[in-house]
Symmetry: C2
Subunit: 363 residues, 2 copies
Amino acid sequence: MGYDLTPQGLHDLAEGAAVLGTGGGGDPYIGRLLVEKEMAAGRTVHIIGADELPDGALVLPSSMMGAPTVFVEKLPSGDGNAAAFRALEEHLGRTAHAVMPTECGGLNSMIPLMLAAQLGLPVVDADGMGRAFPELQMQTFGVLGVSGSPMAIASDHGDTAIITAGDNKRMEQLARALTIQMGGASYISDYPMDTADVRRTSVHGTLTLCRRIGETLREARVTHADPFDALTKMLAGTIYSLGTVLFQGKVVDVERRTVDGFARGRARLEATGDPGDVLEITFQNEHLVARRNGTMVAIVPDLICTLNTESGAPIPTESLAYGQRLTVYGISTPPIMRTPEALACFGPAGFGLPDAYVPLEDL
Amino acid sequence: MGYDLTPQGLHDLAEGAAVLGTGGGGDPYIGRLLVEKEMAAGRTVHIIGADELPDGALVLPSSMMGAPTVFVEKLPSGDGNAAAFRALEEHLGRTAHAVMPTECGGLNSMIPLMLAAQLGLPVVDADGMGRAFPELQMQTFGVLGVSGSPMAIASDHGDTAIITAGDNKRMEQLARALTIQMGGASYISDYPMDTADVRRTSVHGTLTLCRRIGETLREARVTHADPFDALTKMLAGTIYSLGTVLFQGKVVDVERRTVDGFARGRARLEATGDPGDVLEITFQNEHLVARRNGTMVAIVPDLICTLNTESGAPIPTESLAYGQRLTVYGISTPPIMRTPEALACFGPAGFGLPDAYVPLEDL
């Protein structure tokens, strides 16, 4: 049951996680190096399905919190996640059976793999976002009634805190304030869950999906196939169903600030061969909305991915730069992320956007 | 042993606490109303000396955190302190024998009285500041080796957190960030101590001292005696030893901002009958330094109190206003607050002031 991740599988998973990071979530590259270090030391990353958990087991997620622009400059120590995980176990007075991602997109796909290898625990093949989101309350777990707290947070300086918040949005605000004090990046363990909650509230199979996205892009490179066609074919058989090219062009402007602990900004692209055809992407860590000549072509929680037009390699917002040739690729989110409750939490309204949500398929 | 506080004793204690608040610490008036409410409900405030604690007992301080300017607009609920106190008990897995102030100056003289009455516990007649200070690491407890954390913090919205920080200064930074998110005011319990630490590291008898200061000012009003002479006579027999009038004049300018969770600013006074004779006070919640025509006349941790020239009534910085006739009154701090370690923590260097500490007696 389950499977051990191979070094090649880890590479693929990291690339797929960068695609589902939709420009944010932090570059998985850094996290991949941390997992490789564990593997090189002889440790194993064992991935299991939510259906393989014993009934009544405690599962604790593990992730990093902060602005991706900070992760690039301040590398994770590799110790903080265990500190947060252990602090939460101690607070709950229970031992965890498995680690789990909250966010399969970006750096946070890698963090639970590293921690699981360190602790000798399995990783559950599921998460609470099916992509990356910038805030802690933006989780299917919470939308479906799981409390994010008590949560644990740790710094690189030996500080830990346990937050028990009145609701998940306040948990986010309190944890964000601590994260900023902790240097803009922190290690957290939130949404403690038992097996039944994991099965009921998570987006299933997302680590394996990341791995398959990475595999698809890698194979397309080897066979000189069109990476976007390959991706679209592969996604058609998954809970994500639709993947489609939204725009191809050149980056002509990027505006990016790290404010309130987030990377916020906008990117502007001109279509290949037609400078009058313009796509603008707005982001808060992740890409939130894409408008082509003023008309919306994709909006959160559907995924807006910025991929290198040659190779299909995902480009995070912190690496966006003038002159890059990009393909903007849309992916539809799974049904569990499109309920009215889910959209209120992490749809356009959750980000203060004035637009109504329109599914990618209808645009 | 010990004594029950009378309604008159509470009034006196609140006024004395405002004197030792040195312009900050929040106006005890608000806290006094909360204690009066408990007394009116038939509950008792029982004050005991540190020497009356049984050996090995757990003592938990209780206080509010935030800018005095916020306390004026957002009144304490009266419930948050119990939430923080209980959260810390639960985290430690122990039951507290007594409540204690960390800060006998200002509002935080009243908070432990209210909580002790609510919980039916005694209050220890001692604190960690002997006055008011703006930051959590500024305590004789910490200077003498007690860890401020684990500490508990609670909001008015049902949120609690337990912070375990690498040192007391980081505890302050993390708790301050949460306090700002909690609306600029929070309820905390920090520096959990046993009897031996309380006896060794606290400034003793400060609640009773506050009560005697208030009593002295009240009696001076009744007998039409000079309140400052009366205060000076009374202090001469205490660990504070010296009280002296530094300046008498009129407020001509006040500059005050609430920034980073603190009330910061300056006040300018002109001497009665000589507008060319000017005193300037700099404050961060509390008065830090007083300079007369550019020459320092008192500096932290000695106390710089702004008192109404007619009545001796203390005026907090948030109430300073143009035209007030004030007496600036200096009080020397007890020896436990003047060691090199103490001065490094809450002397001029602790506040980033360039001046060297000179005891009030030598100025």
